[in-house]
């Protein structure tokens, strides 16, 4: 589904990604782990089309289609979803209205009619129940005054609404207490199918106890330096990232 080949990217003069290769197939969950500053969030941002980064070499494709010339919204319309590490507060735009606009714009881009208001309300009700979100919450301004946990839950709620092909969860576990973590992970697991794929970006192994990956990759200094199964996450948890650093510098 997602195919990344020899991806190099920089911001200003600073090269952050130095040749990433990654293949994600439908039905798979991949975890990308690594120390701070390794380039994890940059990779997520670039897949989503953030124009602040410059892709200097390599390619990203989704189901064989090159994404590199597409705007962020066009990638979203093709099924790319990024759960932000720091969801943005947008005062004056309610969660419901935001979702309605997002869904209808996506439908429009895919040649579909707008979703009737009645259906929209029904879907919103179902998905908010899945994430245990209070209805009152939906009429509030998007992310404004939300706690860290509420913001992350709201991200997964949006993922549930948009039903993406490829979901990238960037540090979704940060700022979550154990109950919220369970709710979020449970939501993600319910959304998982053999038609979609999930890339979990995390610093810690904790989330991976709940969202169990098929593959774990270690990103260090702009490159994937190690790949393995879920046991690699445990090894990292035990040995820490210094082990990787030493191995690399040796």
């Amino acid at each position: 589904m997602l195919s990344i080949k020899n991806l190099h990217a920089s911001i200003g003069d600073k090269e952050i990604l130095k040749g990433i290769n990654l293949e994600v197939k439908a039905g798979e969950i991949h975890a990308i782990m690594g120390p701070n500053g390794a380039g994890k969030s940059t990779l997520a941002s670039i897949i989503a089309g953030n124009e602040n980064y410059e892709v200097t070499a390599g390619e990203i494709s989704l189901d064989g289609e090159d994404l590199s010339e597409l705007a962020p919204e066009e990638r979203a319309h093709k099924g790319v979803f990024l759960s932000f590490q720091y969801p943005v507060e947008i005062p004056g735009v309610s969660v419901t209205n935001f979702m309605r606009t997002a869904i209808n714009e996506t439908r429009k881009a895919n040649g579909l009619e707008e979703m009737p208001a009645k259906d929209m309300l029904k879907v919103i009700r179902e998905k908010s129940e899945l994430l245990e979100i209070d209805r009152k919450f939906l009429s509030r301004s998007l992310n404004e005054g939300f706690s860290g946990g509420e913001k992350k839950r709201n991200e997964i709620f949006q993922m549930a609404m948009l039903e993406p092909k490829l979901a990238i969860l960037d540090e979704t576990d940060s700022g979550l207490d154990i109950d919220a973590l369970r709710i979020v992970a449970n939501g993600v697991n319910k959304l998982k199918s053999d038609k979609n794929a999930i890339v979990v970006i995390t610093h810690y192994q904790r989330l991976l106890d709940y969202i169990v990956p098929d593959f774990v990759h270690v990103l260090y200094n702009g490159k994937i330096v190690k790949s393995g199964g879920k046991e690699l996450a445990h090894e990292l948890e035990e040995k820490g990232y210094d082990w990787i650093k030493q191995e690399q510098e040796a």
Partner: protein
């Protein structure tokens, strides 16, 4: 001949047509003298530092337009509210048009300034209110006073609610190469009474127009006045709006100014307090581009204790447009327990757009709450990326952000049909078709 000279000689011609023995004659004569002494304001005047009238004054304006200019209703229908019935006071090139208007004398007076000024039965009211709160010192107000003859006259007596909103419309046909119009409105709202007014100036062609308008609003005890100004005129139209508000105790007066169009717009908005526990609200949304210029010059004079004033101005400037927000708040020594808040938030969408924001607070009382905040920023790039990531295209994301930015002011519109209309104008300005019912 320079415009000033032309106006001075026109005044003599104007006087010949009216009764020189009336008391109004003295008012007009004093006013024209003040204008003669002061002339048009220039950038040397502190109050006009950021707004120059020079280029506009070079037009050869007609001061007395022909009286027979006609306009078909179908041609101007779109400028009125449709979904709600309204009283209408309509002027074409400064002349009242009875065909398009819907006035009343049934318990409330919604009619013409010219009748009020000339008919004996209004004399007492005119003597009590006309030119009482308008400045006798400011030259453009004086110029208007000197020629004051036509406009809307609204008198809501004690304990009456105007059953429909009132639309005051000034159309200019462009039948003159360049036209100067000077409407004069008088609004008197009695004790416990309530009125909603919408004022709009609209040019129907591309010929230059300069409107120098004066509106006096008197709100008696516990009166409620909601006044909305829609400024969405052509790029050849210029507007100087001078509005003076006098408030008595426990009254609520709000003036909303929506500035989306025109070449040059200057809003002089002045509030004076004559009683306790009253509230003044001044809200504005400005969305302009090209070389448009909008200058909001506000004054709230707190002279009595326990009063509140709220100012909230949002501005979005693109291309080479320029905006000014100059907000003066005076709190006199007697005005203890004043709450005065002022906000001016601005977004610049282009490197060449400018906003000059200047809050001026002069506080002489010691037990007050006053605050002001001015912000100037760009659209939040991270918010844009976030919205785009969820599938909202750039243009719509931008529009949604800007709409959200102005939302607090839009929400304060109390006439639902007007709120819809303003929302629609904003969507059109932003070039999008998404529904904005947030």
């Amino acid at each position: 001949m320079e415009l000033k000279e032309k106006l001075l000689s026109s005044f003599m011609a104007f006087e010949e047509r009216i009764d020189v023995h009336s008391e109004l004659h003295d008012v007009r004569t004093a006013a024209i003298k003040n204008f003669e002494n002061k002339g048009f304001p220039t950038k040397k005047d502190e109050a006009w530092k950021y707004t120059s009238l020079n280029a506009i004054l070079k037009n050869d304006f007609t001061v007395f337009p022909k009286e027979e200019n006609a306009v078909e209703f179908n041609h101007v229908k779109k400028y009125f509210l449709h979904e709600v019935d309204t009283y209408k006071v309509v002027f074409i090139d400064g002349v009242f048009n009875s065909h398009l208007s819907s006035t009343t004398h049934d318990g409330i007076d919604i009619c013409l300034m010219s009748s009020a000024l000339n008919k004996p039965k209004y004399k007492m009211i005119i003597d009590t209110y006309f030119n009482q709160i308008a400045s006798k010192d400011e030259s453009l107000t004086s110029l208007n006073t000197a020629f004051a003859n036509e406009g809307a006259y609204i008198h809501i007596p004690k304990s009456k609610v105007a059953d429909k909103p009132i639309e005051i419309m000034y159309f200019s046909t462009g039948n003159e190469a360049a036209l100067l119009v000077q409407p004069r409105n008088l609004v008197i709202v009695g004790e416990n009474s309530h009125v909603q007014i919408i004022e709009r100036h609209q040019s129907l062609t591309e010929n230059p127009v300069l409107t120098n308008s004066v509106t006096e609003i008197f709100a008696q005890k516990r009166a409620i006045v909601d006044y909305y100004k829609i400024q969405n005129d052509t790029l050849e139209a210029n507007l100087i709006d001078n509005t003076y508000v006098s408030q008595k105790q426990e009254s609520h007066v709000s003036v909303h100014t929506f500035s989306f169009g025109g070449n040059l717009t200057r809003n002089n908005l002045n509030f004076y307090h004559f009683g306790e526990r009253l509230t003044s609200t001044l809200n504005g949304i400005t969305i302009i581009g090209e070389k448009q210029h909008v200058d909001h010059y506000t004054l709230v004079k707190h002279s009595t204790p326990n009063c509140e004033s709220f100012q909230d101005y949002k501005g979005i400037y693109s291309d080479r447009s320029t905006g000014v927000f100059n907000g003066k708040v005076y709190v006199e020594k007697e005005a203890q327990k004043t709450n005065a808040f002022q906000k001016s938030n601005n977004i610049l969408l282009s490197d060449k757009a400018t906003i000059n924001a200047k809050p001026q607070l002069e506080i002489f009382a010691d037990d007050v709450k006053c605050s002001h905040g001015c912000t100037v920023g760009q659209l939040d790039e991270t918010a844009m990326f976030y919205m785009q990531q969820r599938g909202i295209p750039k243009k719509e994301a931008k529009a949604l952000l800007m709409y959200a930015f102005s939302n607090a002011v839009i929400e304060s519109i109390k006439i639902p049909e007007l709120k819809q209309r303003i929302t629609k104008i904003i969507a059109t300005k932003l070039g999008v078709k998404i529904g904005f019912d947030l």
